[in-house]
């Protein structure tokens, strides 16, 4: 009896699965909308058009906080609509949860590209972006990232554009600040770093720092921690013994504040407390470290809140959407990334054609965004100035507005 029942179930399940697969395999082949006929930049069509911009970003799990970048992008879209720069084209943001996982990111990309018909997809996190890259090529959609700091991301594919700071510049900027602006001699000193384990862009930054250290004669001491750790007493005890002149964190989110607190609690008082890339606008830092945060020096894109009316509107819009939090450098980068995408619309691309958008984007030379001026290279990469800031009185203040990598 059992045997027959199981055969029945078996047949049922196989039939279901086989049907599903047949539908899938024989279903529509070409996911991309047909490209526009080869005419020069068409005059805007009489009916309103929609540029769908997909966004694969972690919205759940440990990295759920990154979902806030969608607000940054939406604020840019609202600004573009209000200013009328897009004519009768509207941009629509379609976020998808990538769960910080490669496979999910790829699934999200496929859904956005094939089901939702988005010709442009924004993404974040190197691992996910690199997994999505071949898929973007295959599906012939544009893949952009304003957050992937790995310079290899955009290389080798016409469909991929990167407009984020290069992670290694943080190292350059901080070393230059210390040696040139603060005029310190680092020879023989120890530069201690707290680094999150398992983060590839931080590993690249460490490599660069070690390179510079070898050239300049100081030593780099690295202490790893696990994302989500709250207790840093032991790594700090270790670093204390080395009597470092400089302690840098490569941390984001809550760990930043917790590390600096733990340092103060153990009496570790280096001459300089630095942070590469994760400090500016980090609300958790102020929340957790309070007054102790004052004096921390960090590198960041040259984004200045309140520098001009548009930036102020961005800050207001983002704060409203995020329950009072002010935008950080990542939010600003993604705002600018949205402006970059909009350039294709402004130069008359056909918003239903990924190929046309790609061609127009490849020709964009520069965009003046809230992070400063972005210059775009011919191979899909970008450059923006780096600045140095310091936490003063609970606020993030720029102290060197522009500092170049070596």
């Amino acid at each position: 009896m059992q045997g027959i029942k199981s055969i029945r179930y078996g047949l049922l399940a196989f039939a279901a699965v086989a049907a599903l697969m047949t539908v899938v395999a024989c279903g529509g082949d070409d996911p991309t909308p047909t490209p526009a006929p080869a005419a020069p930049a068409a005059a805007p069509a009489p009916e309103p058009q929609v540029l769908k911009v997909g966004f694969t970003v972690p919205m759940s799990g440990t990295y759920a906080q990154w979902g806030r970048l969608a607000s940054g992008m939406q604020c840019a879209i609202d600004e573009l609509h209000d200013s009328g720069e897009l004519g009768n084209v509207t941009m629509e943001l379609l976020p998808e949860d990538s769960k910080a996982d490669q496979a999910e990111g790829v699934t999200g990309l496929r859904k956005l590209a094939s089901l939702d018909g988005a010709p442009v997809i924004m993404t974040i996190f190197t691992g996910i972006g690199l997994a999505q890259k071949p898929v973007a090529d295959e599906l012939e959609v544009v893949l952009v990232s304003s957050g992937i700091q790995n310079p290899k991301f955009a290389k080798g594919s016409d469909w991929v554009f990167r407009n984020a700071l290069n992670t290694t510049w943080n190292a350059d900027a901080l070393v230059r600040y210390i040696t040139e602006e603060a005029k310190e001699d680092l020879k023989g000193e120890t530069w201690a770093v707290f680094k999150e384990e398992g983060n590839d862009s931080l590993d690249l930054q460490i490599d660069r720092l070690k390179e510079l250290a070898a050239e300049m004669g100081f030593t780099v001491a690295v202490e790893n921690y696990q994302k989500g750790d709250t207790k840093f007493d032991t790594p700090i005890t270790k670093i204390k013994k080395l009597e470092p002149k400089i302690v840098q964190t490569m941390a984001l989110g809550q760990e930043l504040g917790l590390i600096f607190n733990a340092m103060a609690q153990q009496g570790v008082k280096p001459d300089y407390r630095l942070s590469g890339g994760g400090a500016e606008g980090n609300v958790d830092l102020i929340r957790i470290a309070g007054d102790n945060a004052n004096g921390i020096i960090y590198s960041a894109p040259a984004y200045e809140a309140g520098a001009d009316p548009r930036t102020q509107r961005f800050v207001d819009c983002y704060s409203k959407a995020q329950g009072g939090d002010t935008p950080d450098t990542y939010a600003a980068s993604f705002y600018d990334g949205t402006l970059f995408i909009a350039e294709a619309v402004k130069s008359g691309a056909d918003v239903s054609s990924a190929a046309d958008i790609r061609d127009h984007l490849a020709k964009v030379k520069s965009v003046h965004g809230v992070s400063g001026r972005w210059d775009y290279t011919s191979d899909g990469d970008a450059w923006a100035p780096v600045s140095i800031g310091q936490v003063q009185d609970g606020k993030f203040v720029k102290i060197v507005s522009q500092i170049e990598p070596y």
Binding site: S60, G61, T62, A64, Q65, E197, G198, E223, N224, Y225, Q226, G228, D229, T230, K231, F232, D233, T234, P235, T237, K238, K240, K241, G253, Q254, G257, L258, F260, N261, A262, M263, A264, Q265, Q266, G267, D284, I286, R287, I288, A289, G290, D291, N292, A293
Partner: protein
């Protein structure tokens, strides 16, 4: 020399927190014999309540209570959550005659559910139940001994508070009526019922006690370094680990196990790097389980029980 002492203090602080969690877990396990992964939820309930009542807001209203008041509320709520867990979850499983696997998965599911709810409602933002800044520290310096120690008052307070609780719990079990009843049910449920002990009441009491202990841990942690929704599972596994290392069936063992875990993590962090702290704890657990399954302090009867499991 002072590094050694500093590390010892770090280990003791960490170990105390774990010991507290393990003690709560052990109190429950000894009597109910269920792998209560939901223990992490009591911690979360206390932690989040403390936060909401001090700095956060509930339905738009910001209570802004004093930290002691909020802590008390948090701990009480943790105890209440223990009642809820027993009445609505474990009692039901017992009625259905569920075995260890079913109740374990059910407990795990409930924990995930609570975490999912917290993620949806409170997001994964880190919450700390106090204003920002480092905690007040004590600095002991002694040129002669080459000492330059730093520790926070919070650490010291945690250590003696946990010690006090351990003593209190031990006394409770040894000398009070309720304590004796619990031990009776723990060692022989049928006999206990036969002599007229109300097992249902005992189970409730055990959950209240264990969950309250976890709640205290939650308050302490949320005050010092804050809380996020996803720590529930880690804590439950840590608590279970401490109990196993110290020996199932033994309350002092649970405390020792928790301390041992804290020590192992601290040493691993020191010698191998911060990212090896958690794995080191688990490796210790694995070694104990493989080579000394009754733990460091396990009672003889539990040793026998284990062979039959």
């Amino acid at each position: 020399m002072d590094t050694f002492i500093q590390i010892a203090i770090n280990a003791l602080a960490l170990g105390s927190l774990y010991a507290l969690l393990s003690l709560g877990f052990a109190v429950i396990y000894n009597t109910v014999r269920i792998f209560h992964v939901l223990h992490g939820a009591a911690f979360l309930v206390a932690g989040y309540s403390t936060y909401w009542f001090t700095k956060g807001e509930i339905f738009g209203y910001s209570p802004g209570f004093n930290i002691w008041v909020s802590a008390a509320i948090g701990i009480v709520l943790a105890g209440v959550s223990g009642i809820v867990m027993e009445l609505f979850i474990y009692r039901q499983f017992r009625k259905k005659g569920a075995g260890f696997l079913v109740s374990f998965l059910g407990s795990l599911a409930a924990l995930f559910f609570v975490e999912g709810m917290l993620i949806t409602v409170a997001k994964t933002t880190h919450r700390m139940a106090r204003p920002g800044g480092p905690l007040p520290t004590v600095n002991i310096q002694n040129e002669a001994l080459g000492l330059d120690l730093y520790f926070t008052w919070h650490t010291i307070n945690t250590i003696w508070l946990v010690a006090l609780l351990v003593v209190a719990v031990t006394l409770f079990f040894k000398y009070t009526q309720w304590g004796r009843m619990i031990r009776a049910v723990a060692s022989n449920p049928d006999l206990a019922v036969a002599v007229g002990i109300n097992a249902s009441h005992v189970y409730l009491l055990v959950f209240i006690l264990g969950s309250t202990l976890a709640g205290i841990g939650g308050v302490v942690q949320t005050y010092e370094t804050g809380i996020t929704p996803i720590v529930g599972i880690h804590l439950a596994i840590t608590a279970a680990g401490g109990v196993i290392i110290g020996g199932i069936g033994s309350l002092p063992g649970a405390v020792v196990g928790g301390l041992a875990l804290g020590l192992a993590q601290t040493l691993a962090a020191y010698f191998f790097g911060g990212n090896w702290a958690e794995p080191a704890g688990f490796v210790l657990l694995l070694l104990v389980v493989l080579f000394r399954p009754y733990g460091l302090h396990g009672t003889r009867e539990h040793r026998e029980l284990r062979r039959l499991l």
